[in-house]
Each structure stands twice: as structure tokens, then as C-alpha cells.
């Protein structure tokens, strides 16, 4: 009988982690639906970016209040996880506070966990107020209606509950230590929960043990549940921020990629010795001509798809976007959310059809992202600059414009005029190329 809790714990752990692994597999499969792109260059620069931007939160603190609050929750998450390690070991081995022999170090650790837990609760309350009471503009944009809003708040509630469970567990433990209950070795410092333990003073030893055990179990089960909530939530950024900043753009922001497939065709067109009607030679396996640009998620690169899963919908991009600020439909955050939603839809389609995608008559373009949004972009890079985790919404907008123009000839009329001017006389306006030097003598 004594082993029952250990077994139960082991089962919970295996189920929790098992589901998580399944989610990670699904996530990687979906991301790999994207086109291949070579990001194996500049490894040291990439590591530096990851350390600075993700680990070091360098872009978060550009906005000081949100940055500081986020730093607290982030540090709390990283550091309090040491406690989770102890909980897991205790759970498997049937021990209690296995790290207690560390003595003073243990006191410092538990003490700092408690202070952080309290700070996290404060930060989360501030976050909740920003979202629900002050209603900061970026949290109430149209794309935040429904699930995104609920998701945001749910994460805050889960965090508060987890922190409260942690403190309650410690408070009951502290009380039991005071009462010299043999299983509860005197260990740890409780700068926060000692004040809660006052509320537990009148409880009997058995009730206290019940409170302590319940809080302990709910805390770890809560963490396992939260781990599995990630895949369904915007909160995936706690993991993906790291690879996403690693694989982020290294070139100057203004540099847009040159499509190799286009280079091939343009060179052929411009080569006077090339015979456009030549039959393909026997040995060259004529590939299916590549589709130019993107109309659906499979046409985007896997980094762009990872970008979509990494987005935590903070809306800094949208609040910096000149088009959005002047009331246009375009919201860079919505571009990312739409990409993820469509990718999830494609993923479910694969699940339902044994891994073979069955055409569903839908695509990212028009069914999710409208042309009006795409044409409102000024390519100013403000969204790219604002993103704290190196997401590039602009690259998706450009790929979709490429599809519209090169596959569908569906540019706005004025732009078609501009382009035919460039084709005819090398300038966006209908002026004679021979007049290019007239300005000198005017």
C-alpha cells in the first residue's frame, strides 16, 4: 500500500509527459510542412541572438512596465522549476523534500522561490488589469475576440492558482514542522508562506497533512496539465522563443530574399543564346515549375510556420504598424494568428486522413488573410523591429503579394500601371528614359 502514491505519481508523470511528446511531434510535423530554407549559417551569431533576445529578454524591456512584469514571471518560471525537480524526485522516490540536506542553500532556494512566487502573483494581477480593466488598445483589437482573449486570461488564472498552491503547500509544511510532526523535517525558509500559515493554526495535524498533500498533488498535476495546454495556446512561446530567435533573420531588415526560381527563368529570358522552344534534354528531370509566392501555409517556409506557433499575441507589432494605427484592416499579429489557425486546420486534416492532405477548398489567402490587409503594408519593418521573439510578419505579407502578382496578376490597377511603366521606360512614371538627365539643366 505504501507504494500506491509513488505508482500513481509515476503514472501521472508518464501520461503527462507522454501527451506532451505527442504534441511536440504534431507541432514538428506541422512546422515541417513548410518549404525548406537554409538557416545553417552564422551559428555563433545565431547563438548570440538567442541568448540576448530570448534568454536575455533584450527586446521585452523596450517597453519598461510590461518588460519588468514579464521579467518577473519569466524568472519565476525558470527558477521555480528547480522546485518542480524536487517535487518530481519526491514523487517517484516517496521522499519528502529530498534536497533538504543542502541546509542553508536549501533555505535560500525555498526562500527565493517564495518571494518570486509572490512577485509572480503581483505581476499576473497587473497583467490581468492591463488586459481586462485598463483594456490596453493592443489587447482589444478585433483579432483578440473570443478564444485569444480567453486563452490570455486562462494562462493568468493558471499561473495564479499554481503559485497559490505552491505557497499553501509550504504554509502547511511550515506549520507541520512547527508541530514537530516526524515526517516533516525542519528545512527551508518561508518568508511568504509563514504569514499564510497563521490561517492554518487551528487545524489538526491530519487536516494539515491533508492540506499539504492536496496542494502538493494539485501543484504538480497542474504543472503537467499546463505543459499539455501549451500546444493549444499562444503560450507556446515559452519554448519556441528559443529556436525562433536562433533561426531569426540575420540580414539587414530591409533585405528581402531573391527568389532563386525567378533568377533561373529571368536569366533564361535574358540570355540571347537560349532557345525558348528547346525540348527538355533527356537527362534533366524537368521539375514541376515551382509556385511563386504563397497562397497557403505549405508555400511558406518552415521558419515562417514556426514564427506562427511562437507568436504569443502580445500585439506589439500591431501597435507599431502604421497601417493599423491609421485604421486600416492590416494587423501583423493577425497575419501570424491566421497562419497558425490555418496550419492547425491543415494539421487536423492530415490527422483525419492518415497523413495525406485532402483538399478542403480553403487556403490562407482570402479564407483567412484578405487582399485588403496585404496591400495596406508599407514594408516599413516596424512590426519586425517590435517583435520580442524575432517573428517576421512582413516576410509572409511579401510572399502572399508575390503569389497575387506573379501567379494571379491580381495587383491593384495603380500598381499594374506603375509596373508597366517600369517595364516600358525603366521608371515608375511614364517618362522617357532618354530624359533621365534633364534635371541637370533645369
Amino acid at each position: 500500500m505504501e507504494l500506491v502514491p509513488n505508482l500513481l505519481f509515476a503514472v501521472a508523470l508518464i501520461v503527462g509527459i507522454g501527451f506532451f511528446v505527442r504534441n511536440v511531434k504534431k507541432l514538428t510535423r506541422n512546422i515541417k510542412l513548410g518549404r525548406d530554407v537554409d538557416v545553417s549559417d552564422h551559428k555563433s551569431q545565431r547563438w548570440k541572438n538567442m541568448l540576448r533576445i530570448a534568454l536575455g529578454q533584450s527586446k521585452m524591456v523596450v517597453r519598461p512596465i510590461a518588460g519588468l512584469m514579464h521579467l518577473i514571471v519569466y524568472a519565476g518560471f525558470l527558477i521555480i522549476n528547480l522546485e518542480v525537480l524536487e517535487i518530481i524526485l519526491d514523487g517517484i522516490l516517496g521522499t519528502h523534500r529530498i534536497f533538504a540536506p543542502l541546509g542553508v542553500i536549501y533555505d535560500v532556494l525555498i526562500g527565493s522561490f517564495e518571494i518570486l512566487a509572490l512577485l509572480v502573483i503581483v505581476a499576473v494581477v497587473v497583467f490581468w488589469i492591463r488586459r481586462n480593466a485598463i483594456k490596453l488598445q493592443r489587447f482589444v483589437k478585433p483579432e483578440m475576440k473570443g478564444w485569444p482573449k480567453k486563452d490570455g486570461n486562462l494562462i493568468l488564472y493558471i499561473e495564479v492558482v499554481l503559485m497559490c498552491l505552491f505557497l499553501t503547500m509550504n504554509a502547511a509544511d511550515f506549520q507541520l514542522q512547527q508541530l514537530d510532526v516526524p515526517e516533516y523535517t525542519k528545512a527551508g525558509a518561508f518568508p511568504v508562506s509563514q504569514y499564510i500559515s497563521g490561517l492554518l493554526q487551528d487545524l489538526s495535524v491530519s487536516t494539515l497533512i491533508l492540506v499539504e498533500r492536496t496542494a502538493w498533488w494539485l501543484h504538480i498535476l497542474g504543472i503537467l496539465a499546463f505543459l499539455n495546454y501549451l500546444y493549444y495556446s499562444k503560450h507556446l512561446h515559452i519554448i519556441l522563443a528559443f529556436p525562433n530567435t536562433y533561426f531569426g533573420k540575420l540580414n539587414p531588415q530591409g533585405q528581402f530574399n531573391n527568389l532563386d526560381s525567378v533568377t533561373k527563368e529571368v536569366k533564361l529570358m535574358m540570355d540571347p543564346s537560349a532557345d525558348p522552344f528547346a525540348a527538355p534534354t533527356e537527362d534533366t528531370n524537368e521539375e514541376v515549375p515551382e509556385k511563386f509566392g504563397a497562397s497557403d501555409v505549405m508555400d511558406l517556409s518552415w521558419v515562417q510556420l514556426m514564427n506562427a506557433y511562437t507568436c504569443t499575441e502580445c500585439g506589439r507589432c500591431t501597435s507599431e504598424c502604421p497601417a493599423n494605427q491609421t485604421g486600416k484592416k492590416l494587423s501583423p499579429r493577425k497575419i501570424m494568428m491566421d497562419t497558425r489557425d490555418r496550419l492547425e486546420e491543415v494539421g487536423k486534416n492530415l490527422d483525419a486522413n492518415k497523413g495525406e492532405f485532402q483538399p478542403d477548398g480553403k487556403q490562407l489567402l482570402d479564407d483567412y488573410i484578405s487582399r485588403e490587409e496585404l496591400w495596406a503594408c508599407t514594408t516599413c519593418n516596424a512590426c519586425v523591429e517590435a517583435c520580442p521573439v524575432s517573428i517576421d510578419p512582413l516576410s509572409i505579407i511579401l510572399e502572399m503579394r508575390r503569389f497575387l502578382v506573379m501567379e494571379q496578376s491580381a495587383a491593384p490597377t495603380e500598381l499594374n500601371n506603375m509596373m508597366s511603366n517600369i517595364e516600358n521606360n525603366g521608371a515608375p512614371w511614364p517618362y522617357n528614359q532618354m530624359d533621365r538627365l534633364n534635371w541637370v539643366n533645369e
Binding site: P252, Q253, G254, Q255, F256, N258, L259, V262, T263, E265, V266, K267, M269, M270, F292, G293, E320, P322, A323, Q325, T326, G327, K328, K329, W375, A376, C377, T378, T379, C380, N381, A382, E385, L398, M400, R401, R402, L404, V405, M406, A411, E414, L415, M418, M419, I422, E423, G426, A427, P428, W429, Q433, M434, D435, R436, L437, N438, W439, V440, E442
Partner: protein, 261 residues
Amino acid sequence: MSEVLKVKTMEEFMAEGKQPEILFWVGSAGSYDDRAKKISRAFVKILNAAQVDFAVLGPEESSTGDVTKRAGNEFLFQMQALMNIEILNGYEIKRIVTCDPHSFNTLKNEYPSLGGNYEVFHHTTYIKELLDSGRLSVEGKVYKEKRITFHDPCYLGRANSVYDAPRDLLRKTNAEVVEMKRHKKSALCCGAGGAQMFKEPEKGDMDINVLRTKDALETQPNIIATGCPYCNTMMTDGIKAHEKEDSVSVLDVAELIANSL
């Protein structure tokens, strides 16, 4: 501006069997747009004053393709790029300077992988170099009592991290240089980029240039300076929308320096 400018084409250099120090890429706006042509002239006035042996391509120059690339027409962009590269490489051009941040960005960042490798400068950086090396000096009288604010062009600032050169130049005019609330990395776009210059904006409740001009006017400037012909158009229109065209003017950094020589 009736003074005579010294401008030679690459073709003329070739005929003389000479190579210029640098090529001035005038750009489509600088060649045809009435307002931007004045910027080209001001920049040449500076080049002449510093006795820079420069060339232009003249009728051999063609759009860099920046705007078509951003509109999504990669085909047309690459055709323009390959054509220009053929000409530039044919003349063995090594260094290029331009007053247009869009041409600057495209020539510097997007031409190399297509075979065009040049050292490319924005005119503000180049003028700064001329001053630093002592080839050019500024008297700095005309704007002494003026207040100037600088609008960062997206393709110069965020896109290529050039923030200091234009500001250093503005200080040389001895004017008071004031910053807008959003500047450098967080500067707001003027609304022209991404091919917006050539189309009507989508439905919204304001035009971007009007919003950006509001930022600028909050600093109570006499002059809004910029370093891009398209920003210049947008800010000039913005000032008209705010009915401030009588008290505030929009000038390129090159014009401010040319007038301060």
C-alpha cells in the same frame, strides 16, 4: 537654381578612358520628380564643391526594381536588377552613392546575390565622409536660428541602421536639432514604402503621412528634414493637410547642407 552644375556621364568617362571616384545613382524620383530633382541638384552642388570626380549613368540608368519587388513582382525586379548589374559591371563600378534610401537598400543588400557587388553609400553618409576628410566645409549660417527635426526614412534607419550620419550633418548647419517622440528604431513610416507611393491607401480613418507629420509638428520645428525623396513628398503633403505649409518647410539633408556651404 540657375547655377551650372558639372555632371558627367559614365559614357563620357569611358570615352576619356577614365574611371570616376564614385557613381551617383540618381534614381527615378531624383531624375523625374520635380521636388526630388532639386535634391539631386543640391547633392551635385555639394559634390562639385568638394571636387568629387563623380559620374552618373544618365539614360543608361533604370529603376532598381525596389518598388516592384515590394509590390510582389519578383520577375520584374530581377529583370531590372540584372539589366542594371550588366551595365554597372560593364563600367566596372565599385562605389555608388544615392539620395534614395530605397535604391540604397536594394543596391546594397539585394544586388549582391544577383552578381552586383558594390560599396554603396547613402548621400548623408557620403557627405559626412567628405566633411570628415576635409574635402568639404560648411559655413553653417543660414539655419542658425532654426529648429529642425529629422524624420528617419524606414529604408535608411530600421532597414539599414543608418541613424547618426544625417543627424551629424544637421548639427553642422548650427540649427537646433530636436527629436520626435518616435525616432530612430521606433520611427513611424511616412506611408510611402512598399509601393504605397503609387496607389491610394486602403480604407482607414487617417492617412499615414498626416499622422507622421503630426509627430513632427509636435516638436515645433521650422524645418522637417529627411533623407528620402518619397518621405519628402509624404511629409510635404502632410504639412498641407495640417495647414502649416506657410510656417514649416520640408527639406532634404542635402539641401540643408548645400545651402549652408
